[in-house]
Each structure stands twice: as C-alpha cells, then as structure tokens.
C-alpha cells in the first residue's frame, strides 16, 4: 500500500515535468529525475504482508473500574524475515495504559517470537474488547507498507463499583405471598412475636407458650408476624437529557452504581427485583429472585450507554403492562426535566409506591468547576431550585437527594422507612 510520501514524490515529479513543458526548460525536467528514481528503486524491493501467529492473554476478563489488567501479546513470525514490523494492539479509549505500550516496532526473523506486555486500567464500566492486532510491514523508504489485521479480540467486562449499603433500610412497601424477610403485619411464618391464641390440633409443639398454658390452665400457642417478600422495579434514567458531567463521572454512571447497589441490597432480602433502563431503547429485566438475577441486572447495567429520548410515559405504560402490579418503583434519575417530575406524580396517582434516588447534577457540575469562586451564586440559586423540586416530590415519594461524592448509604440514611402494608 502506498503512503502519502509516495504520492507527494509523484506529484512533485509531475509538477517539474509540467513546468518544464510550459517553459521549455530542460533543467526543470532534470529535477523530476530524483523523485522518479527513488520511486523506482524503492519499488524494486516491495515489502511483504506479515504472516504472524498472535496470542493475547489477559490477567482478568472481569475487572472493576480502576483495577489494573495485565495484557500479554505473544507474536511469532511464520513468514520470511520482516525488517521493520510495526505492531498495534487495539485498546479501547476508555482504558488508560499506565505501564508499557500496545505499540512496538521491531525486526523479526523467521520463527522468532516476541512477547509484549502492557497494563490497562478501565476508567468506566462497560463491556470492552481488546483488538484487533494490526501488524504493518514497513518499507524503510517510507513509500509503502503491507498491513495484516489479525481479528483477535478479548472481551473485558468492567462492572460498576458496588456501593456498600448494607445498613440502609430499603425494602418493598407491599409484600406478596412468598416467604421473605419483610414483616408483613399478617400472621404467618416468621420470627417476630405477634400474639397468643388457643391451641388447635396440628399446631407445632414448639409453638406452644408453656408459661401462658400454665397460667391459663389450657394449651396456648404463640403466633408470629409473617415475613414476606415483595417486588421492586428499578427504573434507571439514562436518557441523553439526563447526562451531566464527563462520561466516567456523569450522573448516568452514578445512577448505574446506585441501581446495582439497590438491586443487590433488595435481592439480599429475598425479594424480586426487576430493571428498566430508559435510553435509546427500553432495556428491561423481568423481576426474579436470587444471585442469578443480580448477574442479569449487572449484565444489563454494564451495557448501559447514555442516549435516546424515550419519554417517561412509555415507562409507565411498560410498567403497567408487563411488570407485576403493586411493584415498588425505585426511580434513579437526576430529575433534570419536567417529564421526570410528571412521571413521579403520575405513578403516585396510580397508587404505585415510588422511591427516588437522584444523583445531584448540581454537585456533579460543582465538582467539575470547584475552583471557580464566581460560580458560588449560581450554585446557590440552582441548589435552592433543586431543593424546591425535591420538596415538592416528597409529597408523593421518598426522595434521596444524593451528592455522588458521598457514599450512597449516607443519602439513603435520610430516607424514612416505608410504612408497611
């Protein structure tokens, strides 16, 4: 393949020839000879496409944000000697390369092998691919090269960081028939004492309250408050309109972290959790129990990229049609537009229990421009405006106004526990 230098030389030679013809000046024609000679001589020994065996190994194929992943590339030359081989390994731009470089230029004899080692650090969550490997055999004349693109790809899953919210009191407001960990205000299977009643045949012996039996001179049985589980649907607002800040520290990225932490916490309490992601399309995961569900949600969250303009009306419709009725809705949104505020009001009007976790866009921007004192007044005004909006929403929902620089648990501490139904 010709390089731009070859085209430049041909152009220069052509210009000299045309000028010589115009002015009928033979000395100008002489000047066309060196570029032409160089082109001819360099073309006598063309470069060959590299024939390589390449193997890539990574230390981790699942690494959280900020963790180093060591990449080893083993390259063996299976063709003739390559005098000047340039190798590039494709590294996504979301990765930093703190040690080594995925780029090398070297000479490789037939059968010779080289090992390139470098380290990458993912800066944002997502599913990324290393590769392909691009090998170029360069001509030292700078006039041509031959390229081989080796389609060797390695997938690295970068999950978001899991926030520790074990102490937060989050649970579904409404319970279902399944056994769980939420006191249901109904008599049933559980551990919390509820009351006493006359013994009926079939009661378990261990439930007999012997002190009460002795006092009343008849068999009395303990009753317990049933512990049930409920359904929660997490709605993540990842629309283009809801993105504030650089991608790695945007409101959407913080929202993803919050969604994962809340899903893990609620699933730990033996509840069903589902997910709706509002972006270019409506991604959704139907509610289910257990650790597998956490991985399903994690996989859906890893792929989230902000974008799209889906209206909240579609989410409400989707919830009412495809998700269990009376599910608790946890809306994760920076609440930047009137559509989000209207959606909360609509859901509350339909009797849906709503909780809002709102990564504050003002704090995200504040962190970006923290050194500019002139923005203090603007910050205070925006802060007041947001507090007003949050106060208005608190009539319909529990709202956690979250400064993403603080742990999520701190924001959730301010949320009152939901009254049980």
């Amino acid at each position: 393949m010709r390089t731009s230098l070859a085209s430049s030389l041909a152009s220069v030679a052509g210009i000299f020839v045309v000028l010589a013809l115009l002015f009928l000046e033979w000395r100008l024609l002489l000047l066309a000879i060196p570029p032409l000679t160089y082109l001819v001589l360099a073309g006598l020994r063309p470069v060959r496409a590299p024939v390589l065996d390449v193997i890539r190994e990574v230390s981790e194929d699942r690494a959280p944000v900020g963790q180093e992943v060591s990449v080893t590339l083993r390259v063996a030359n299976r063709g003739p000697r390559i005098d000047l081989l340039e190798l590039y390994d494709g590294v996504p731009r979301e990765f930093a390369v703190p040690k080594g470089r995925p780029h090398l230029a070297l000479a490789l004899r037939n059968g010779e092998q080289v090992t390139i080692t470098y380290t990458v650090v993912p800066r944002v969550k997502g599913q990324f691919q290393l590769g392909p490997v691009i090998a170029r055999s360069l001509s030292p004349s700078g006039l041509d090269y031959e390229e081989a693109i080796l389609p060797i790809r390695t997938t690295i899953n970068v999950p978001p960081r899991l926030e520790d919210i074990r102490r937060a009191r989050i649970q579904p407001r409404r319970t279902r028939a399944w056994v769980g960990q939420i006191p249901s205000r109904l008599i049933g299977l559980g551990t919390e004492f509820w009351g006493l009643r006359e013994y009926v045949p079939g009661d378990e012996t261990r439930r007999i309250n012997w002190k009460a039996t002795a006092r009343l001179d008849r068999l009395v049985t303990n009753e317990y408050e049933g512990e049930r589980s409920g359904d929660v649907v997490i709605v993540l607002d990842a629309r283009q309109e809801a993105v504030v800040g650089p991608l790695a520290a945007s409101t959407t990225e913080h929202g993803i972290r919050a969604a994962l932490a809340i899903a893990a916490k609620i699933l730990d309490g033996r509840n069903r959790v589902g997910l709706i992601v509002q972006r270019n399309v409506l991604d959704w995961v139907y509610p289910a129990f257990g650790r597998k569900q956490l991985f399903r949600i994690l996989d859906a969250l890893v792929r989230v990229r902000p974008g799209g303009e889906w209206s909240f009306r579609h989410v409400s419709w989707f919830l009412s049609r495809f998700f269990p009725p009376n599910s608790q809705v946890v809306l994760i949104s920076p609440l930047l537009d009137a559509d989000a505020l209207r959606a909360v009001t609509d859901l509350a009007a339909r009797g849906t229990a709503v909780m809002i976790v709102s990564p504050s866009p003002i704090e995200v921007e504040r962190a970006m421009y923290s050194e500019d004192p002139t923005l203090d007044v603007a910050y205070r005004l925006l802060r007041m405006e947001r507090e007003n909006a949050v106060s208005a929403l608190r009539r319909f929902a529990d709202v956690a106004d979250w400064d993403p620089r603080d742990p999520l648990a701190t924001a959730l501490r301010g949320v009152t526990p939901w009254p049980r139904h």
Binding site: M1, V17, L31, A32, D83, H103, L104, G142, A148
Partner: protein
C-alpha cells in the same frame, strides 16, 4: 546497553540534523545570491518551515513535518531558479536529501514513540536491529538514488528538449508523466495481507 532515552535521542537526531543542514544551505544561498526582496520572501518561508518542524517536534503532530518540508523545498528551488541559477547537480542533491528527510521523519515518528515506552531488555535489541537497519537502508537508498539520478541525467536525451522541437518535448513529457502515474498509482507487487 544505552538507556532508552538516549536511543530516542539518536533516532530524532538524524532527521533533525538533516533538516537543520538543509535550512542552513538554503539560507546561505539566499544571503549570497538573492536580492533583498528574495531574501525577505525566502527567509519568511524558512522561518515558517522551521516553525512547522518545531511544532511537530514539540507536539508530536508529525503532519506538520510535511508542511515544513514543502516550504523548505519551495524556498530552495525558487531561490535557485530565480537568482542563483539552476545548477542541476546541487539541486538534485538537495531534492534527494529532502526525500531522505521525509523517509527519516516517518521512521522518527515510529521509533520515537516506541523508544519512549520500551524498556524490556529482551525487546530492545529487536527494536535496535529494526531502527539501525531501517536508517542504514534509507541512507543507502538515498545514495543510490543520487548516483542513478546523475547517470540518468547524463543518459536521458534531454538535449532533445533543448532542440526546441515542441513535438519532442511533449512526447518526452508524456512518457515521463505516464511513468509517474504508473509509479504513483500501481499497487505494491507483494502478496495481500495474511493473518
């Protein structure tokens, strides 16, 4: 074994020295032969050319090298044709060196990045072999180009051009332009990419 920093300096040194030498050559020609107006225009071109090369070196934006080379070539050829006189041998030598500068700057672009990152003692000899071989072959090719160009200048019947026959001049120009087109547009004769 020299540390990588020194190797990085070495791969930069050759093209930059060559560039500096070509700038000095052009400047001397301007001072010696050009009138004040020519001196002003030529020196402006040289200053912009040096600025382009400096910018390319400081920011690693190597595309600026191309602009630097073009301006340098323009200043030299213009000055020779207009004032000093078109003595073919030094002009051909200058053009060969300018071509070499282009080739070496492309090698500099490759190796300066590699030497900035590689410190593995097992890989460094392979990189050294590639760098040494590439620079040596480039210099050899340049020398051969100059010699062959001189021979061609003697052998090609350029006197026909001088004879004043328009038909001959056009025919010779068409042949040369066809040759240029073939060289510029023909694909490389090697095999296609293999994986």
């Amino acid at each position: 074994m020299a540390p990588p920093l020194n190797r990085g300096v070495w791969v930069r040194l050759l093209p930059r020295t060559l560039f500096a030498a070509l700038v000095v050559w052009t400047a001397i020609d301007l001072v010696v032969a050009a009138p004040p107006l020519g001196w002003a225009i030529g020196s402006s071109l040289l200053i912009i050319s040096v600025a382009c090369a400096t910018w390319a070196a400081r920011t690693s934006a190597f595309t600026w090298n191309r602009a630097g080379r073009t301006l340098l070539g323009l200043a030299f050829v213009g000055e020779r044709l207009l004032w000093t006189g078109a003595d073919p041998v030094p002009m051909m030598a200058f053009i060969v060196l300018l071509i070499g500068l282009g080739a070496m700057q492309s090698l500099e672009r490759v190796f300066s990045r590699v030497y900035a990152a590689v410190s593995d003692p097992e890989i460094l000899p392979m990189v050294d072999a590639a760098a040494f071989g590439a620079y040596a072959r480039t210099l050899g090719l340049l020398a051969l180009t100059f010699v062959v160009s001189l021979l061609l200048a003697l052998l090609v019947p350029l006197s026909l051009f001088r004879s004043g026959s328009l038909f001959t001049a056009v025919a010779l120009s068409v042949v040369l332009i066809a040759l240029i087109a073939i060289l510029a547009l023909a694909p490389s004769s090697s095999r296609g990419p293999e994986a």
